[in-house]
Amino acid sequence: HMVRLSLRSSRPHGDRAPSRGTQPSGGPPASAAPMDSSSQSPPAGGDPSEDGAAAELPRLTVTQVEQMKVEARVADIYRVLFDAAPNAKSVMLELWRDQHVEYLTKGLRHLAPSFHVLDANRPWLCYWMVHGLAVLDETLDDDLENDIVDFLSRCQDKHGGYGGGPGQLPHLATSYAAVNTLVTIGSERALSSIKRDNLYKFMLLMKDKSGAFRMHDGGEIDVRACYTAISVASLVNILDDELAKGVGNYIASCQTYEGGIAGEPSAEAHGTLFVGWLQWSCLMKWRNSICLA
Protein backbone atom coordinates (compact mmCIF):
# COMPACT_ATOMS: atom_id res chain seq x y z
CA HIS A 1 0.00 0.00 0.00
CA MET A 2 1.60 3.17 -1.16
CA VAL A 3 1.79 6.09 1.20
CA ARG A 4 -0.23 8.97 -0.15
CA LEU A 5 1.76 12.12 0.19
CA SER A 6 0.48 15.52 -0.67
CA LEU A 7 3.60 16.36 -2.60
CA ARG A 8 3.32 18.97 -5.23
CA SER A 9 5.88 19.36 -7.92
CA SER A 10 6.86 22.95 -8.48
CA ARG A 11 5.33 22.82 -11.90
CA PRO A 12 1.61 22.31 -11.55
CA HIS A 13 1.13 19.17 -13.52
CA GLY A 14 1.39 16.49 -10.91
CA ASP A 15 -1.48 14.29 -9.94
CA ARG A 16 -1.98 11.94 -7.08
CA ALA A 17 -4.98 9.85 -8.05
CA PRO A 18 -4.11 7.15 -10.56
CA SER A 19 -7.33 7.50 -12.44
CA ARG A 20 -7.65 7.06 -16.13
CA GLY A 21 -6.16 9.86 -18.11
CA THR A 22 -8.73 9.86 -20.89
CA GLN A 23 -8.97 12.94 -22.90
CA PRO A 24 -11.71 15.17 -24.13
CA SER A 25 -12.81 14.85 -27.69
CA GLY A 26 -13.72 17.50 -30.14
CA GLY A 27 -12.14 20.87 -30.47
CA PRO A 28 -10.78 22.39 -33.57
CA PRO A 29 -12.19 22.40 -37.06
CA ALA A 30 -9.29 20.17 -38.03
CA SER A 31 -10.84 17.33 -36.10
CA ALA A 32 -8.93 15.60 -33.39
CA ALA A 33 -8.92 11.84 -33.02
CA PRO A 34 -12.01 10.55 -31.22
CA MET A 35 -11.87 9.97 -27.51
CA ASP A 36 -10.62 6.59 -26.40
CA SER A 37 -13.29 4.49 -24.71
CA SER A 38 -14.83 5.28 -21.40
CA SER A 39 -13.80 7.49 -18.60
CA GLN A 40 -13.38 6.06 -15.17
CA SER A 41 -13.53 7.92 -11.92
CA PRO A 42 -10.74 7.91 -9.33
CA PRO A 43 -10.46 4.80 -7.17
CA ALA A 44 -11.12 6.70 -3.99
CA GLY A 45 -14.89 6.65 -3.65
CA GLY A 46 -15.76 7.51 -7.21
CA ASP A 47 -19.01 6.88 -9.01
CA PRO A 48 -19.23 4.43 -11.87
CA SER A 49 -18.58 6.06 -15.20
CA GLU A 50 -21.59 7.69 -16.71
CA ASP A 51 -21.81 5.79 -19.93
CA GLY A 52 -21.69 2.49 -18.11
CA ALA A 53 -18.83 1.04 -20.12
CA ALA A 54 -17.05 -1.94 -18.66
CA ALA A 55 -14.42 -1.01 -16.15
CA GLU A 56 -10.93 -1.42 -17.47
CA LEU A 57 -7.56 -0.95 -15.89
CA PRO A 58 -6.71 2.74 -15.99
CA ARG A 59 -4.15 3.69 -18.59
CA LEU A 60 -1.68 5.84 -16.75
CA THR A 61 -0.04 8.72 -18.49
CA VAL A 62 3.66 9.47 -18.36
CA THR A 63 3.01 12.24 -15.83
CA GLN A 64 1.11 9.90 -13.54
CA VAL A 65 3.73 7.19 -13.78
CA GLU A 66 6.55 9.61 -13.03
CA GLN A 67 4.63 11.06 -10.11
CA MET A 68 3.94 7.62 -8.67
CA LYS A 69 7.57 6.64 -9.00
CA VAL A 70 8.69 9.69 -7.06
CA GLU A 71 6.08 9.14 -4.37
CA ALA A 72 7.06 5.49 -4.09
CA ARG A 73 10.72 6.35 -3.67
CA VAL A 74 9.98 8.97 -1.05
CA ALA A 75 7.68 6.55 0.72
CA ASP A 76 10.47 3.97 0.80
CA ILE A 77 12.80 6.45 2.42
CA TYR A 78 10.22 7.43 5.00
CA ARG A 79 9.44 3.78 5.66
CA VAL A 80 13.07 2.94 6.32
CA LEU A 81 13.37 5.87 8.67
CA PHE A 82 10.11 5.05 10.38
CA ASP A 83 11.07 1.45 10.91
CA ALA A 84 14.55 2.20 12.20
CA ALA A 85 15.39 1.94 15.87
CA PRO A 86 15.70 5.32 17.67
CA ASN A 87 19.50 5.32 17.87
CA ALA A 88 19.82 4.24 14.26
CA LYS A 89 17.40 6.99 13.32
CA SER A 90 19.47 9.72 14.92
CA VAL A 91 22.58 8.53 13.10
CA MET A 92 20.71 8.44 9.81
CA LEU A 93 19.40 11.95 10.29
CA GLU A 94 22.70 13.44 11.23
CA LEU A 95 24.43 15.80 8.85
CA TRP A 96 27.89 14.45 8.11
CA ARG A 97 29.59 17.79 8.55
CA ASP A 98 33.16 16.58 8.50
CA GLN A 99 32.70 14.58 5.34
CA HIS A 100 30.99 17.47 3.58
CA VAL A 101 33.70 19.91 4.65
CA GLU A 102 36.37 17.55 3.41
CA TYR A 103 34.59 16.99 0.11
CA LEU A 104 34.11 20.68 -0.48
CA THR A 105 37.59 21.72 0.57
CA LYS A 106 39.19 19.07 -1.62
CA GLY A 107 36.97 19.98 -4.53
CA LEU A 108 38.04 23.59 -4.34
CA ARG A 109 41.50 22.39 -5.27
CA HIS A 110 40.99 19.37 -7.50
CA LEU A 111 38.14 17.92 -9.46
CA ALA A 112 37.82 14.60 -11.31
CA PRO A 113 38.00 14.37 -15.11
CA SER A 114 34.24 14.03 -15.35
CA PHE A 115 33.94 17.67 -14.33
CA HIS A 116 35.10 18.69 -17.79
CA VAL A 117 31.43 19.29 -18.56
CA LEU A 118 31.67 22.24 -16.17
CA ASP A 119 34.80 23.64 -17.75
CA ALA A 120 32.82 26.73 -18.79
CA ASN A 121 31.29 27.07 -15.33
CA ARG A 122 34.24 27.19 -12.96
CA PRO A 123 33.07 30.27 -11.05
CA TRP A 124 29.94 28.23 -10.28
CA LEU A 125 32.14 25.47 -8.90
CA CYS A 126 33.79 28.08 -6.69
CA TYR A 127 30.45 29.46 -5.59
CA TRP A 128 28.79 26.15 -4.80
CA MET A 129 31.71 25.01 -2.69
CA VAL A 130 32.53 28.31 -0.99
CA HIS A 131 28.87 28.88 -0.23
CA GLY A 132 28.48 25.32 1.06
CA LEU A 133 31.38 25.80 3.42
CA ALA A 134 30.02 29.15 4.56
CA VAL A 135 26.66 27.58 5.32
CA LEU A 136 28.51 24.96 7.36
CA ASP A 137 30.23 27.81 9.17
CA GLU A 138 33.66 26.80 7.99
CA THR A 139 36.36 29.27 7.16
CA LEU A 140 38.75 28.79 4.30
CA ASP A 141 42.41 28.87 5.00
CA ASP A 142 44.14 32.02 3.81
CA ASP A 143 46.02 30.44 0.91
CA LEU A 144 42.91 28.86 -0.50
CA GLU A 145 41.00 32.06 -0.08
CA ASN A 146 43.65 34.11 -1.85
CA ASP A 147 43.92 31.59 -4.63
CA ILE A 148 40.17 31.67 -5.22
CA VAL A 149 40.22 35.46 -5.41
CA ASP A 150 43.14 35.28 -7.82
CA PHE A 151 41.45 32.67 -9.96
CA LEU A 152 38.28 34.70 -10.23
CA SER A 153 40.35 37.71 -11.22
CA ARG A 154 41.72 35.60 -14.03
CA CYS A 155 38.16 34.86 -15.08
CA GLN A 156 37.40 38.56 -15.09
CA ASP A 157 37.41 39.94 -18.62
CA LYS A 158 39.51 43.04 -19.11
CA HIS A 159 36.45 44.85 -20.43
CA GLY A 160 34.23 43.71 -17.61
CA GLY A 161 32.27 40.70 -16.42
CA TYR A 162 33.43 37.20 -15.56
CA GLY A 163 33.67 34.20 -17.88
CA GLY A 164 33.50 30.50 -17.17
CA GLY A 165 37.27 30.26 -16.95
CA PRO A 166 40.38 32.26 -17.78
CA GLY A 167 40.12 33.62 -21.31
CA GLN A 168 36.43 32.79 -21.73
CA LEU A 169 33.82 35.27 -22.88
CA PRO A 170 32.23 37.17 -19.97
CA HIS A 171 28.81 35.77 -19.13
CA LEU A 172 26.11 37.03 -16.78
CA ALA A 173 25.64 33.70 -15.00
CA THR A 174 29.34 33.20 -14.34
CA SER A 175 29.53 36.85 -13.27
CA TYR A 176 26.77 36.11 -10.80
CA ALA A 177 28.67 33.08 -9.50
CA ALA A 178 31.98 34.93 -9.27
CA VAL A 179 30.56 37.98 -7.52
CA ASN A 180 28.61 35.88 -5.06
CA THR A 181 31.71 33.84 -4.28
CA LEU A 182 33.67 37.00 -3.58
CA VAL A 183 30.89 38.45 -1.49
CA THR A 184 30.64 35.20 0.49
CA ILE A 185 34.37 35.35 1.14
CA GLY A 186 33.77 38.97 2.06
CA SER A 187 37.34 40.11 2.65
CA GLU A 188 38.61 43.50 1.56
CA ARG A 189 40.82 41.78 -0.97
CA ALA A 190 37.97 39.76 -2.38
CA LEU A 191 35.57 42.65 -2.71
CA SER A 192 38.06 45.10 -4.13
CA SER A 193 39.01 42.61 -6.83
CA ILE A 194 35.68 43.29 -8.53
CA LYS A 195 36.11 45.89 -11.27
CA ARG A 196 32.78 47.56 -10.80
CA ASP A 197 33.05 50.15 -13.54
CA ASN A 198 33.86 47.52 -16.12
CA LEU A 199 31.15 45.25 -14.82
CA TYR A 200 28.68 48.07 -15.33
CA LYS A 201 29.88 48.61 -18.89
CA PHE A 202 29.59 44.90 -19.60
CA MET A 203 26.04 44.83 -18.31
CA LEU A 204 25.08 47.81 -20.38
CA LEU A 205 26.38 45.99 -23.44
CA MET A 206 24.27 43.00 -22.51
CA LYS A 207 21.16 45.14 -22.17
CA ASP A 208 18.61 44.57 -24.89
CA LYS A 209 16.17 47.14 -26.22
CA SER A 210 13.31 45.07 -24.79
CA GLY A 211 14.62 45.91 -21.35
CA ALA A 212 15.87 42.37 -20.82
CA PHE A 213 19.49 41.19 -20.83
CA ARG A 214 21.37 38.67 -22.91
CA MET A 215 23.62 36.19 -21.17
CA HIS A 216 26.73 36.99 -23.18
CA ASP A 217 27.72 38.69 -26.40
CA GLY A 218 25.35 37.28 -29.00
CA GLY A 219 23.79 35.06 -26.37
CA GLU A 220 20.28 34.19 -25.32
CA ILE A 221 17.85 36.68 -23.78
CA ASP A 222 15.68 35.46 -20.96
CA VAL A 223 14.53 36.00 -17.42
CA ARG A 224 17.59 34.25 -15.94
CA ALA A 225 19.81 36.82 -17.61
CA CYS A 226 17.67 39.59 -16.12
CA TYR A 227 17.88 38.08 -12.68
CA THR A 228 21.64 37.56 -12.72
CA ALA A 229 22.24 41.07 -14.03
CA ILE A 230 19.97 42.91 -11.60
CA SER A 231 20.99 40.79 -8.67
CA VAL A 232 24.71 41.37 -9.20
CA ALA A 233 24.26 45.05 -10.04
CA SER A 234 22.31 45.49 -6.84
CA LEU A 235 24.89 43.59 -4.81
CA VAL A 236 27.84 45.68 -5.98
CA ASN A 237 25.80 48.86 -6.02
CA ILE A 238 25.94 49.73 -9.70
CA LEU A 239 22.22 49.41 -10.31
CA ASP A 240 20.89 52.54 -11.91
CA ASP A 241 18.00 53.55 -14.13
CA GLU A 242 19.93 52.69 -17.27
CA LEU A 243 20.32 49.09 -16.22
CA ALA A 244 16.93 48.83 -14.60
CA LYS A 245 14.71 50.41 -17.20
CA GLY A 246 12.33 48.03 -18.88
CA VAL A 247 13.34 45.00 -16.85
CA GLY A 248 10.17 45.03 -14.81
CA ASN A 249 8.05 45.25 -17.94
CA TYR A 250 9.92 42.42 -19.58
CA ILE A 251 9.42 40.19 -16.57
CA ALA A 252 5.77 41.19 -16.36
CA SER A 253 5.45 40.12 -19.98
CA CYS A 254 6.75 36.73 -18.90
CA GLN A 255 3.95 36.17 -16.44
CA THR A 256 1.68 33.44 -17.74
CA TYR A 257 -1.99 32.65 -17.38
CA GLU A 258 -1.03 30.37 -14.51
CA GLY A 259 0.31 33.31 -12.56
CA GLY A 260 3.90 32.17 -12.51
CA ILE A 261 6.80 33.51 -14.51
CA ALA A 262 8.31 31.92 -17.61
CA GLY A 263 11.81 32.17 -19.01
CA GLU A 264 10.58 34.08 -22.03
CA PRO A 265 7.23 35.60 -23.01
CA SER A 266 4.64 32.87 -23.81
CA ALA A 267 6.75 30.04 -22.40
CA GLU A 268 5.48 27.94 -19.51
CA ALA A 269 5.61 29.26 -15.95
CA HIS A 270 8.64 27.83 -14.23
CA GLY A 271 9.15 27.47 -10.53
CA THR A 272 12.61 28.89 -10.03
CA LEU A 273 13.29 30.77 -6.91
CA PHE A 274 15.38 33.16 -8.90
CA VAL A 275 12.45 34.67 -10.55
CA GLY A 276 10.58 35.32 -7.36
CA TRP A 277 13.54 37.19 -6.04
CA LEU A 278 13.86 39.26 -9.12
CA GLN A 279 10.22 40.06 -9.07
CA TRP A 280 10.55 41.23 -5.53
CA SER A 281 13.60 43.25 -6.29
CA CYS A 282 12.00 44.95 -9.23
CA LEU A 283 8.79 45.55 -7.40
CA MET A 284 10.58 47.09 -4.50
CA LYS A 285 12.17 49.71 -6.58
CA TRP A 286 10.12 50.24 -9.65
CA ARG A 287 6.65 49.06 -8.72
CA ASN A 288 6.05 47.30 -11.95
CA SER A 289 2.79 45.74 -12.87
CA ILE A 290 3.11 42.07 -12.04
CA CYS A 291 -0.31 40.71 -11.28
CA LEU A 292 -0.45 39.20 -7.83
CA ALA A 293 -4.15 38.42 -7.89
Binding site: G26, T61, I148
Partner: protein, 332 residues
Protein backbone atom coordinates in the same frame (compact mmCIF):
# COMPACT_ATOMS: atom_id res chain seq x y z
CA UNK B 1 35.25 10.68 -30.20
CA UNK B 2 34.78 14.09 -31.61
CA UNK B 3 34.78 14.28 -35.33
CA UNK B 4 35.08 17.41 -37.38
CA UNK B 5 31.92 18.37 -39.16
CA UNK B 6 31.32 16.19 -42.16
CA UNK B 7 33.50 13.29 -41.06
CA UNK B 8 31.31 11.27 -38.78
CA UNK B 9 33.62 8.69 -37.26
CA UNK B 10 34.78 7.44 -40.63
CA UNK B 11 38.37 7.72 -39.62
CA UNK B 12 40.12 7.45 -36.35
CA UNK B 13 40.27 10.76 -34.53
CA UNK B 14 43.57 12.55 -34.93
CA UNK B 15 44.61 14.76 -32.05
CA UNK B 16 45.38 18.36 -33.07
CA UNK B 17 49.09 18.00 -32.32
CA UNK B 18 49.30 15.38 -35.05
CA UNK B 19 47.31 17.22 -37.68
CA UNK B 20 49.51 18.59 -40.47
CA UNK B 21 47.13 21.50 -40.94
CA UNK B 22 47.82 22.68 -37.40
CA UNK B 23 51.58 22.15 -37.46
CA UNK B 24 52.28 25.88 -37.34
CA UNK B 25 50.03 26.50 -34.38
CA UNK B 26 51.52 26.93 -30.93
CA UNK B 27 48.98 25.60 -28.43
CA UNK B 28 48.00 28.11 -25.76
CA UNK B 29 47.67 26.70 -22.26
CA UNK B 30 44.92 27.79 -19.91
CA UNK B 31 45.96 30.72 -17.72
CA UNK B 32 45.06 29.10 -14.43
CA UNK B 33 48.04 30.55 -12.66
CA UNK B 34 50.57 28.92 -10.32
CA UNK B 35 48.13 27.98 -7.58
CA UNK B 36 45.00 26.82 -9.34
CA UNK B 37 41.63 26.23 -7.75
CA UNK B 38 38.69 24.13 -8.97
CA UNK B 39 41.25 22.49 -11.16
CA UNK B 40 39.71 19.89 -13.42
CA UNK B 41 41.83 16.82 -14.25
CA UNK B 42 41.29 17.11 -18.00
CA UNK B 43 41.96 14.05 -20.08
CA UNK B 44 44.73 14.33 -22.68
CA UNK B 45 42.46 14.87 -25.66
CA UNK B 46 40.44 17.55 -23.89
CA UNK B 47 43.53 19.38 -22.78
CA UNK B 48 45.04 19.35 -26.22
CA UNK B 49 41.95 20.39 -28.13
CA UNK B 50 41.32 23.30 -25.79
CA UNK B 51 44.96 24.46 -25.98
CA UNK B 52 44.74 24.55 -29.76
CA UNK B 53 41.34 26.19 -29.64
CA UNK B 54 42.67 28.88 -27.36
CA UNK B 55 45.50 29.58 -29.78
CA UNK B 56 43.24 30.07 -32.77
CA UNK B 57 40.66 31.96 -30.71
CA UNK B 58 43.26 34.35 -29.35
CA UNK B 59 44.53 34.92 -32.87
CA UNK B 60 40.97 35.54 -34.07
CA UNK B 61 41.52 33.12 -36.92
CA UNK B 62 38.36 32.62 -38.97
CA UNK B 63 39.30 29.68 -41.12
CA UNK B 64 38.10 26.21 -41.99
CA UNK B 65 40.62 24.65 -39.66
CA UNK B 66 39.33 26.87 -36.86
CA UNK B 67 35.80 25.74 -37.66
CA UNK B 68 36.88 22.10 -37.42
CA UNK B 69 38.55 22.73 -34.10
CA UNK B 70 35.41 24.30 -32.65
CA UNK B 71 33.59 21.10 -33.57
CA UNK B 72 36.14 19.08 -31.62
CA UNK B 73 35.81 21.39 -28.63
CA UNK B 74 32.01 21.27 -28.79
CA UNK B 75 31.99 17.47 -28.82
CA UNK B 76 34.15 17.49 -25.71
CA UNK B 77 32.09 20.10 -23.89
CA UNK B 78 28.90 21.28 -25.58
CA UNK B 79 28.41 23.76 -22.75
CA UNK B 80 31.33 25.92 -23.76
CA UNK B 81 29.50 29.04 -24.91
CA UNK B 82 32.76 30.79 -25.89
CA UNK B 83 33.45 28.06 -28.43
CA UNK B 84 29.92 28.27 -29.79
CA UNK B 85 30.20 32.03 -30.06
CA UNK B 86 33.47 31.80 -31.93
CA UNK B 87 32.02 29.13 -34.16
CA UNK B 88 29.27 31.56 -35.17
CA UNK B 89 31.87 34.21 -35.91
CA UNK B 90 33.76 31.77 -38.12
CA UNK B 91 30.62 30.51 -39.84
CA UNK B 92 29.75 34.05 -40.81
CA UNK B 93 33.26 34.85 -41.97
CA UNK B 94 33.32 31.73 -44.13
CA UNK B 95 29.74 32.23 -45.32
CA UNK B 96 29.24 28.60 -44.44
CA UNK B 97 26.39 26.33 -45.44
CA UNK B 98 23.76 26.93 -42.78
CA UNK B 99 21.72 23.82 -43.50
CA UNK B 100 24.76 21.66 -43.02
CA UNK B 101 25.41 23.52 -39.80
CA UNK B 102 21.86 22.90 -38.61
CA UNK B 103 22.43 19.20 -39.22
CA UNK B 104 25.59 19.42 -37.12
CA UNK B 105 23.93 21.15 -34.18
CA UNK B 106 20.89 18.86 -34.34
CA UNK B 107 23.11 15.87 -33.70
CA UNK B 108 24.59 17.57 -30.65
CA UNK B 109 21.14 18.63 -29.50
CA UNK B 110 19.76 15.11 -29.69
CA UNK B 111 22.27 13.88 -27.16
CA UNK B 112 22.19 17.11 -25.14
CA UNK B 113 18.56 18.17 -25.29
CA UNK B 114 18.77 20.35 -22.16
CA UNK B 115 21.83 22.32 -23.14
CA UNK B 116 21.20 26.06 -23.54
CA UNK B 117 23.92 26.62 -26.12
CA UNK B 118 22.66 24.17 -28.71
CA UNK B 119 19.18 25.65 -28.70
CA UNK B 120 20.50 29.17 -28.91
CA UNK B 121 22.68 28.16 -31.84
CA UNK B 122 19.67 26.58 -33.55
CA UNK B 123 17.69 29.74 -33.05
CA UNK B 124 20.49 31.84 -34.52
CA UNK B 125 20.69 29.54 -37.53
CA UNK B 126 16.95 29.32 -38.07
CA UNK B 127 16.67 33.07 -37.98
CA UNK B 128 19.27 33.32 -40.71
CA UNK B 129 17.75 30.57 -42.80
CA UNK B 130 14.32 32.14 -42.49
CA UNK B 131 10.79 30.76 -43.02
CA UNK B 132 12.15 27.82 -45.02
CA UNK B 133 13.45 26.44 -41.75
CA UNK B 134 10.03 26.35 -40.12
CA UNK B 135 9.04 22.83 -41.13
CA UNK B 136 12.31 21.16 -40.29
CA UNK B 137 12.49 22.99 -36.96
CA UNK B 138 8.98 21.85 -36.08
CA UNK B 139 9.90 18.30 -37.08
CA UNK B 140 12.94 18.48 -34.87
CA UNK B 141 11.19 19.78 -31.77
CA UNK B 142 8.47 17.22 -32.33
CA UNK B 143 11.15 14.54 -32.26
CA UNK B 144 12.63 15.86 -29.03
CA UNK B 145 9.22 16.23 -27.42
CA UNK B 146 8.41 12.64 -28.38
CA UNK B 147 11.26 11.64 -26.05
CA UNK B 148 10.37 14.15 -23.35
CA UNK B 149 7.05 15.90 -23.80
CA UNK B 150 8.00 18.64 -21.37
CA UNK B 151 11.48 19.64 -22.49
CA UNK B 152 11.43 23.34 -21.70
CA UNK B 153 14.03 24.26 -24.33
CA UNK B 154 12.21 22.38 -27.04
CA UNK B 155 8.97 24.13 -26.22
CA UNK B 156 10.63 27.56 -26.15
CA UNK B 157 12.22 26.86 -29.49
CA UNK B 158 8.98 25.62 -30.96
CA UNK B 159 7.20 28.75 -29.79
CA UNK B 160 9.91 30.98 -31.17
CA UNK B 161 9.74 29.20 -34.55
CA UNK B 162 5.96 29.62 -34.66
CA UNK B 163 6.12 33.29 -33.84
CA UNK B 164 9.09 34.11 -36.04
CA UNK B 165 8.88 31.69 -38.92
CA UNK B 166 5.33 30.35 -38.93
CA UNK B 167 3.90 26.86 -39.22
CA UNK B 168 0.78 27.41 -37.11
CA UNK B 169 -1.48 25.27 -39.27
CA UNK B 170 -1.21 21.93 -37.52
CA UNK B 171 -0.30 23.15 -34.07
CA UNK B 172 -3.70 22.80 -32.43
CA UNK B 173 -3.91 19.27 -33.74
CA UNK B 174 -0.50 18.63 -32.23
CA UNK B 175 -1.68 19.94 -28.85
CA UNK B 176 -4.74 17.72 -29.07
CA UNK B 177 -2.55 14.75 -29.78
CA UNK B 178 -0.25 15.47 -26.84
CA UNK B 179 -3.15 16.00 -24.50
CA UNK B 180 -4.68 12.74 -25.65
CA UNK B 181 -1.44 11.02 -24.79
CA UNK B 182 -1.07 12.78 -21.46
CA UNK B 183 -3.78 15.15 -20.31
CA UNK B 184 -1.54 16.13 -17.38
CA UNK B 185 1.08 17.62 -19.67
CA UNK B 186 1.05 21.20 -18.50
CA UNK B 187 3.48 22.21 -21.25
CA UNK B 188 0.92 21.14 -23.84
CA UNK B 189 -1.78 23.14 -22.06
CA UNK B 190 0.55 26.14 -22.08
CA UNK B 191 1.12 25.68 -25.80
CA UNK B 192 -2.61 25.51 -26.31
CA UNK B 193 -2.92 28.85 -24.55
CA UNK B 194 -0.39 30.37 -26.90
CA UNK B 195 -2.38 29.13 -29.89
CA UNK B 196 -5.71 30.23 -28.60
CA UNK B 197 -4.42 33.70 -27.84
CA UNK B 198 -1.85 34.25 -30.58
CA UNK B 199 -2.37 31.99 -33.53
CA UNK B 200 -3.05 34.07 -36.62
CA UNK B 201 -5.37 31.41 -37.99
CA UNK B 202 -7.59 30.66 -35.00
CA UNK B 203 -9.18 34.04 -34.47
CA UNK B 204 -8.06 34.92 -30.99
CA UNK B 205 -9.23 34.26 -27.46
CA UNK B 206 -12.68 35.79 -27.76
CA UNK B 207 -13.45 33.65 -30.81
CA UNK B 208 -12.03 30.47 -29.33
CA UNK B 209 -13.17 30.84 -25.76
CA UNK B 210 -16.49 29.09 -26.03
CA UNK B 211 -15.24 25.85 -27.54
CA UNK B 212 -12.19 25.94 -25.32
CA UNK B 213 -14.33 26.14 -22.20
CA UNK B 214 -16.18 23.01 -23.30
CA UNK B 215 -12.94 21.21 -24.07
CA UNK B 216 -11.44 22.19 -20.74
CA UNK B 217 -14.49 21.38 -18.63
CA UNK B 218 -14.56 17.96 -20.23
CA UNK B 219 -10.91 17.45 -19.30
CA UNK B 220 -11.68 18.49 -15.74
CA UNK B 221 -14.57 16.04 -15.50
CA UNK B 222 -12.40 13.20 -16.66
CA UNK B 223 -9.89 13.96 -13.97
CA UNK B 224 -10.68 16.71 -11.47
CA UNK B 225 -7.32 16.18 -9.76
CA UNK B 226 -5.51 17.40 -12.85
CA UNK B 227 -4.57 20.97 -12.04
CA UNK B 228 -3.72 21.97 -15.60
CA UNK B 229 -7.22 22.37 -17.03
CA UNK B 230 -8.35 24.28 -13.95
CA UNK B 231 -5.55 26.78 -14.50
CA UNK B 232 -6.28 26.89 -18.19
CA UNK B 233 -9.93 27.54 -17.56
CA UNK B 234 -9.04 30.49 -15.38
CA UNK B 235 -6.69 31.70 -18.07
CA UNK B 236 -9.44 31.66 -20.69
CA UNK B 237 -11.15 34.40 -18.71
CA UNK B 238 -8.06 36.33 -17.80
CA UNK B 239 -8.87 39.99 -17.16
CA UNK B 240 -12.57 39.32 -17.56
CA UNK B 241 -14.03 38.31 -14.25
CA UNK B 242 -17.54 39.36 -15.17
CA UNK B 243 -17.67 36.99 -18.10
CA UNK B 244 -16.21 34.27 -15.92
CA UNK B 245 -18.86 34.65 -13.27
CA UNK B 246 -21.59 34.81 -15.89
CA UNK B 247 -20.57 31.56 -17.56
CA UNK B 248 -22.74 28.96 -15.90
CA UNK B 249 -20.68 26.10 -17.19
CA UNK B 250 -17.91 27.08 -14.80
CA UNK B 251 -19.86 27.09 -11.58
CA UNK B 252 -21.68 23.99 -12.81
CA UNK B 253 -18.37 22.24 -13.28
CA UNK B 254 -17.29 23.15 -9.76
CA UNK B 255 -20.57 21.88 -8.42
CA UNK B 256 -20.43 18.61 -10.32
CA UNK B 257 -16.92 17.95 -9.12
CA UNK B 258 -17.76 18.80 -5.52
CA UNK B 259 -20.78 16.55 -5.58
CA UNK B 260 -18.50 13.65 -6.36
CA UNK B 261 -15.62 14.76 -4.19
CA UNK B 262 -16.16 17.56 -1.75
CA UNK B 263 -12.48 17.70 -0.90
CA UNK B 264 -11.32 18.69 -4.37
CA UNK B 265 -9.13 21.67 -3.62
CA UNK B 266 -9.13 22.98 -7.18
CA UNK B 267 -12.91 23.08 -7.30
CA UNK B 268 -13.13 24.67 -3.88
CA UNK B 269 -10.62 27.39 -4.59
CA UNK B 270 -12.11 28.13 -7.99
CA UNK B 271 -15.49 28.40 -6.36
CA UNK B 272 -14.09 30.71 -3.76
CA UNK B 273 -12.72 32.96 -6.47
CA UNK B 274 -16.09 32.98 -8.22
CA UNK B 275 -17.89 33.90 -5.02
CA UNK B 276 -15.37 36.62 -4.41
CA UNK B 277 -16.05 37.99 -7.88
CA UNK B 278 -19.74 38.17 -7.19
CA UNK B 279 -21.16 34.79 -8.13
CA UNK B 280 -24.63 34.40 -6.76
CA UNK B 281 -24.69 30.78 -5.70
CA UNK B 282 -27.63 28.72 -6.92
CA UNK B 283 -29.73 26.86 -4.41
CA UNK B 284 -28.15 23.64 -5.53
CA UNK B 285 -24.68 25.07 -4.91
CA UNK B 286 -25.70 26.37 -1.52
CA UNK B 287 -27.11 22.97 -0.72
CA UNK B 288 -23.90 21.19 -1.63
CA UNK B 289 -21.82 23.54 0.42
CA UNK B 290 -24.12 23.35 3.39
CA UNK B 291 -23.83 19.58 3.19
CA UNK B 292 -20.08 19.95 3.40
CA UNK B 293 -20.57 22.29 6.30
CA UNK B 294 -22.56 19.63 8.07
CA UNK B 295 -19.53 17.44 7.90
CA UNK B 296 -17.83 20.17 9.86
CA UNK B 297 -20.05 21.61 12.56
CA UNK B 298 -17.58 24.32 13.56
CA UNK B 299 -18.43 26.62 10.72
CA UNK B 300 -21.97 27.35 11.84
CA UNK B 301 -24.20 29.49 9.66
CA UNK B 302 -21.49 31.53 8.09
CA UNK B 303 -21.38 33.12 4.67
CA UNK B 304 -20.92 30.61 1.84
CA UNK B 305 -17.49 31.91 0.95
CA UNK B 306 -16.38 31.66 4.56
CA UNK B 307 -17.57 28.06 4.68
CA UNK B 308 -15.63 27.21 1.55
CA UNK B 309 -12.60 28.87 3.06
CA UNK B 310 -12.79 26.89 6.25
CA UNK B 311 -13.21 23.67 4.29
CA UNK B 312 -10.10 24.57 2.34
CA UNK B 313 -8.16 24.97 5.55
CA UNK B 314 -9.04 21.36 6.33
CA UNK B 315 -8.56 19.91 2.84
CA UNK B 316 -5.45 21.84 1.87
CA UNK B 317 -3.42 21.89 5.08
CA UNK B 318 -0.27 22.71 3.17
CA UNK B 319 -1.71 26.15 2.60
CA UNK B 320 -3.60 26.54 5.84
CA UNK B 321 -2.00 29.90 6.54
CA UNK B 322 -3.02 31.22 3.15
CA UNK B 323 -6.61 30.09 3.52
CA UNK B 324 -6.80 31.51 7.06
CA UNK B 325 -5.57 34.82 5.79
CA UNK B 326 -7.98 34.63 2.87
CA UNK B 327 -10.81 34.11 5.31
CA UNK B 328 -9.90 37.30 7.13
CA UNK B 329 -10.24 39.23 3.88
CA UNK B 330 -13.73 37.86 3.45
CA UNK B 331 -15.06 39.25 6.68
CA UNK B 332 -14.37 42.79 5.53
Amino acid sequence: MGSSSGEEGEEEWVPPSRRPELADVAPLPQADGPCPVVSIAYRGDFHEVMDYFRALYAAGERSPRALRLTADAIHLNPGNYTVWHFRRVVLEALDADLLLEMHFVDQIAESNPKNYQVWHHKRWLAEKIGPDAANSEHDFTRKILAMDAKNYHAWSHRQWVLQSLGGWESELQYCNQLLEEDVFNNSAWNQRYLLVTRSPILGGLAAMRDSEVDYTVEAIMVNPQNESPWRYLRGLYKDDNNLLVADNRISDACLKVLNKDWTCVFALSFLLDLLRMGLQPSDELKGTIKAMENSDPETGHADIAVIVCSILQKCDPLRINYWSWYQTTLSS
